[in-house]
Symmetry: C2
Subunit: 339 residues, 2 copies
């Protein structure tokens, strides 16, 4: 069960992340977080004819590795909540052609992983499922031609642009048992600050991250210093700076903030502002954040995934970019809380 405070569900018996997996591509192989990935491929095609099909393979690998690490059969999972950036979410749809599990597609752009975790946790906490997979993926080459220009144009990327991670992440949620606890979930409201530059997603998404975080802090009466870390995904350097300004204007602080888009690629100059895409924070969650919670190094964090909700069509129609951010509060497993 859960108590609702404002936009936030606080789970009285928190569901857990029983297992998780992260897979990545070529650039991710050189990530400072590479060691935390379960599989890395130096071939971004993953043996497929198209980038889109390669992304499907990434997501499917993440799903299967997650089940394997949990020692769980497909039949022990009641539902998959998955999404991606391809038009009509085809990376997830074609992944689910290979998995014999009921499937509900979700779309939150780069916020997809937190949306799936929040919905999955609520369904587990409400007694509606014994096992749920939450998955998200992205692919640099599929996303560039989906949202911007074909790679072969060789367009110069601006300093504010972000690099869609060729990566996928998957978490297996259970109502109880060993694993990192999902103690609360806050679903975001759409924010639109009239940003129109599709090469500056960070600026479009920072207000959404701030809005959802403010709801969560107020709903749960939490001081930001009580959190070991506020993880956002994926504002990049530009969006992270804007988030700091927005939070300062609201009198929020002190706090410790890390952005998955900055963590994934470190100081790699090619990525400009940082990583992005549904697979970025999904893989950083599995490769970096969850292990630190499992070891007890972190006790309590929030994971806020942000999504820019435009398409190439709305961009060409000169619409501004609406954004959303969903949040889950994660805590070290009971056994690791005292370490």
């Amino acid at each position: 069960m859960a108590q609702r405070h404002g936009d936030t569900l606080i789970f009285s018996a928190p569901p857990v992340i029983a297992a998780h997996a992260a897979v990545g591509g070529k650039k991710e192989s050189r990530s400072p977080l590479a060691e935390g990935f379960d599989e890395l491929s130096r071939d971004n095609r993953l043996g497929q004819k198209t980038w889109e099909a390669a992304e499907k393979v990434l997501q499917l690998r993440a799903g299967r590795l997650c089940l394997q690490k949990a020692g769980a059969a497909e039949r022990s999972v009641n539902l998959v909540l998955a999404g991606d950036l391809q038009a009509q979410c085809t990376a997830s749809n074609y992944t689910m052609r290979e998995l014999d599990i009921p499937f509900a597609g979700v779309f939150g752009a780069c916020s997809t992983m937190a949306e799936a975790l929040g919905l999955g946790a609520a369904l587990c906490a409400g007694g509606m499922a014994e096992g749920i997979l939450a998955m998200a993926s992205g692919h640099f080459c599929a996303a560039e031609r989906q949202f911007r220009t074909p790679l072969s144009y060789g367009a110069v990327r601006t300093p504010t642009s972000q690099w869609t991670a060729t990566a996928a992440g998957c978490c297996l949620l259970r109502p109880a048992g060993p694993g990192v606890l999902i103690r609360a979930a806050t679903f975001g409201r759409v924010q639109d600050y009239r940003v129109r530059d599709i090469n500056n997603m960070g600026a479009a998404m920072a207000p959404a991250a701030a809005a959802t975080l403010l709801h969560y802090l107020a709903d749960t009466h939490t001081q930001p210093a009580a959190l070991d870390c506020i993880y956002t995904g994926d504002l990049g350097r530009v969006g992270s700076d804007l988030l700091a300004q927005l939070l300062e204007a609201e009198g929020i602080g002190p706090y410790h903030h890390e952005d998955c888009g900055c963590l994934l690629y470190g100081s790699d100059p090619q990525v400009h502002s940082g990583g992005s895409g549904p697979g970025c924070c999904a893989s950083v969650l599995s490769a970096h954040i969850l292990p630190r919670l499992e070891s007890g190094e972190l006790k309590r964090v929030v994971f806020i995934a942000t999504g820019a909700l435009m398409s190439q069509t709305t961009f060409l129609q000169k619409e501004s970019i609406p954004a959303i951010a969903h949040l889950v509060e994660l805590a070290a497993p009971a056994a690791a809380q005292e370490e």
Copy 2:
């Protein structure tokens, strides 16, 4: 709470559809079901510059009318579950820019309404929400250029093709109270019978409808004759014939079947096989099915919305079309059960 039997959740205290609304465009104004719509516009642009923006207006009208009919304020709703066919679900994203309610985007192509109803019912039944809006929309002109060719090409449509309804539907779900009961939900598994013709969605989707219905009948030990009607959305005439063949091969019968895609446009020859799109069954649900349950004319039905999960990209890449179907069991309100 709920009991899980196989893929089906049976709600011990069924959530209700407290209010609902349907809006449509020009062709829908001539529908045999036109009287059941709350608003019909003879201008498919709805005063907007683009078809995509017009679809947003349709969905927003459906959402606002639903709240108005319920006498409910936006703040009495905890979450909106909405989706559509535009790439990156922008009709829903831009709708939610106008509504100040937390939002979780869902994608199930034409199955979106049943997916949203199933997830929403599970969240209400699990004590996770006091009010949820489930919404879906489609627009003929936006969908044709998204999936096939720009309208101005004047391409000839094949006899198996379906007509994407310019329509939107919205339901307000509550954990209890007056309204049609959602007694069970079955989330579908992806089926792919290697259909590659994007002008024959019915053939791609019929196996998904059959698979989900078979799960539901087995999970709930229901004889199909115990259902006043099996409503599918939207197989059209071609897909409905195939569903009948698939069910006959499984020894299922007798039963009464109606397809939302056939109901919406009656014998209009221009639509060929029938209506389709997320807005088709969403609006038929509100304009036709729910009123008949509310009056007690129908006591118990299943609503199975089917979705074809391809994109124009996967079509051009010569992938086959995966499909999915989600089901909710609906029952007349307690007060109307005995009439």
